[in-house]
Amino acid sequence: MKQINAVLEGAGSMVMLLLRAGSYAGSLPRQWARFVEQCYLIGYTTLPIVTILSFFIGTVLALEAGYSMEGFGAKEFIGSLVGLSMARELGPMMTSVLLAGRVGSAITAELASMKVYHEVDALTTMNIPPAKILVLPRLAAVLVMMPVLIVFANIVGWFGGSVVARYVSSVGISSESYFAALRHYTKFKDVMNGMAKAEVFGFVVVLVCCNIGLNTRGGPREIGAAVTRAVVTSLILILILDYFVTKLLM
């Protein structure tokens, strides 16, 4: 009962926070500097880990596809498998998971410490709503940066697959036929589909992490607990939303 209550409370405060942040959307142009700073943190600094991870996801996909498709002589379809799974599912999903781990945890830690050390209260008494200057720029930044991260993830992942397809002898198909299959079966629609997913995931991750950070109560010890809770909640929500968003976009 207590847990159910906590979940409902979390969901409710998240919606409230979203509405509050949304109501200040008009102030975004004046918060340009904060927006750019968040873009930098969410997009630019996350790129290296996203590219490394995507590259290896691509290689593993190609390797596994090569292994399993060899059985019925369909190795030419490795390209299409890597292309589609990267664009539609793994690119958006893994990037969002990284976002939760890298950016989400930082957001929660920052906001939780601001809350614990009364900085959030100070903002409130100064009549500067935390939703406006702490949440809105982050939500806007993630919406702008997510597609960029995804396109990097996709292209690096596809490239990783082609490297395995070409140079691993047990797979051994040419880059040309890999990319031909990829191009033939992967439509731009699929890439857009993945980006739409990533937008939803990224937005929810940032919203959840902001909300948990701002609702932290107690001493500095609570900051760590809040970060853990935020990352776990983000991951669970990504996976649950994944099903529904995929279904919706079909």
Binding site: A33, V36, E37, C39, Y40, G43, Y44, L47, A74, V144, M145, P147, V148, L149, V151, F152, N154, I155, R183, T186, K187, F188, V191
Partner: protein, 331 residues
């Protein structure tokens, strides 16, 4: 780091991202947004089978478009084909549904048509041809064996005849020989005398026998008989190789294709055919002997012509060609 540098990095990163989105779009969609609305053609078929939206349209094997949608139009199905407007499709070109591989689905194949034919306009209907699909072919193979056996049976009956009535061509020839030995001997004697006369170079008959036109005619007849025998042999060899190919299929498809009953039927027919041709090969000597008997020669000629026609008929029969296509497509 100062904020100008930070802004510059974010800007660079963002622009790079947009550029990559554009590159992806161009690569995957061939930049369709800026292409003029492509040409559509309507292809009506009795049955679209596995054809679905997005399948390729190939002109002489080169991809020129895709299936935009499939729909029902009255009593038949229609596929709306989206064709690259730069590629003209001849007015008399024919569209067929073809298989691009066993699990690769179907595509619409369009042939070039005749060179001078005017191009089809946007939205026009293209001529279509229904080709048998794999499933139909598989079910036809059993019936095909039976058909083949029947036609070959008729052929062998014409030559061997029914053993009870003894009415076969070979039997008749032997009977004629046996019945007329005396007369033949007399004729041979007469012939000897005549040839003597010819050798001696006198009499009109000598000239008649030596007439080049008649000689040529005789040679042509012999050649025709030889050609017929070769044709029969070739057919047998073809049939054999088709069956070998079908039999050698080992995988899931091999079992699907391989129908032991049909194969046995076809084999039996081939054996019949071979014995006929063997007999034909042996019969050559007898026919040589009987070269002076005009009546016999004529009747033999007629029979051979009948054999010829039967063989032609067999060669032309569609199903065999279809089997060949299937066998070649599969293996």
């Amino acid at each position: 780091m100062n904020s100008t540098q930070q802004t510059a990095r974010v800007g660079l990163f963002f622009l790079l991202g947009i550029a990559l989105v554009w590159v992806t779009f161009e690569t995957l969609s061939d930049g369709k947004i800026f292409e003029p609305r492509s040409h559509t053609l309507i292809a009506g078929f009795d049955d679209l089978r596995q054809l679905k939206t997005g399948d390729e349209v190939r002109l002489a094997g080169v991809r020129v478009g895709s299936v935009q949608k499939t729909r029902l139009a009255g009593r038949h199905a229609e596929a709306v084909l989206e064709i690259d407007p730069k590629v003209p499709i001849a007015g008399d070109a024919t569209a067929t549904i073809a298989m691009s591989g066993l699990i690769g689905g179907n595509y619409v194949a369009i042939d070039m048509g005749t060179p001078g034919a005017p191009a089809l306009a946007d939205g026009a209907e293209i001529k279509t041809l229904t080709t048998p699909d794999l499933n139909t072919l598989m079910s036809d193979i059993g019936g095909l064996g039976k058909q083949l056996q029947e036609s070959l049976g008729t052929f062998s009956a014409a030559i061997n005849g029914d053993p009870k009535t003894g009415g076969g061509i070979i039997q008749k020839l032997e009977k004629i020989l046996a019945d007329n030995t005396a007369r033949l001997n007399a004729t041979m004697t007469n012939l000897q005398e005549i040839t003597d006369k010819i050798n001696r170079g006198d009499g009109t008959l000598g000239k008649l026998v030596n007439d080049p036109k008649l000689h040529d005619e005789l040679l042509a007849t012999v050649d025709e008989i030889k050609a017929t025998a070769t044709q029969a042999k070739e057919f047998v060899a073809n049939a054999q190789s088709v069956m070998d190919q079908v039999k050698s299929g080992q995988g899931a498809l091999g079992t699907l294709v391989y129908d032991p009953k049909a194969a046995a039927d076809i084999k039996a027919s081939i054996a019949d055919l071979r014995s006929v041709s063997d007999k034909l090969a042996k019969g050559e000597g007898t026919l040589g002997k009987l070269i002076n008997d005009d009546g016999l020669y004529d009747s033999a000629q007629v029979t051979i012509k009948k054999v010829d026609r039967t063989l032609d008929g067999l060669n032309d029969s569609g199903p065999i060609t279809a089997v060949g296509i299937v066998a070649n497509a599969l293996f």
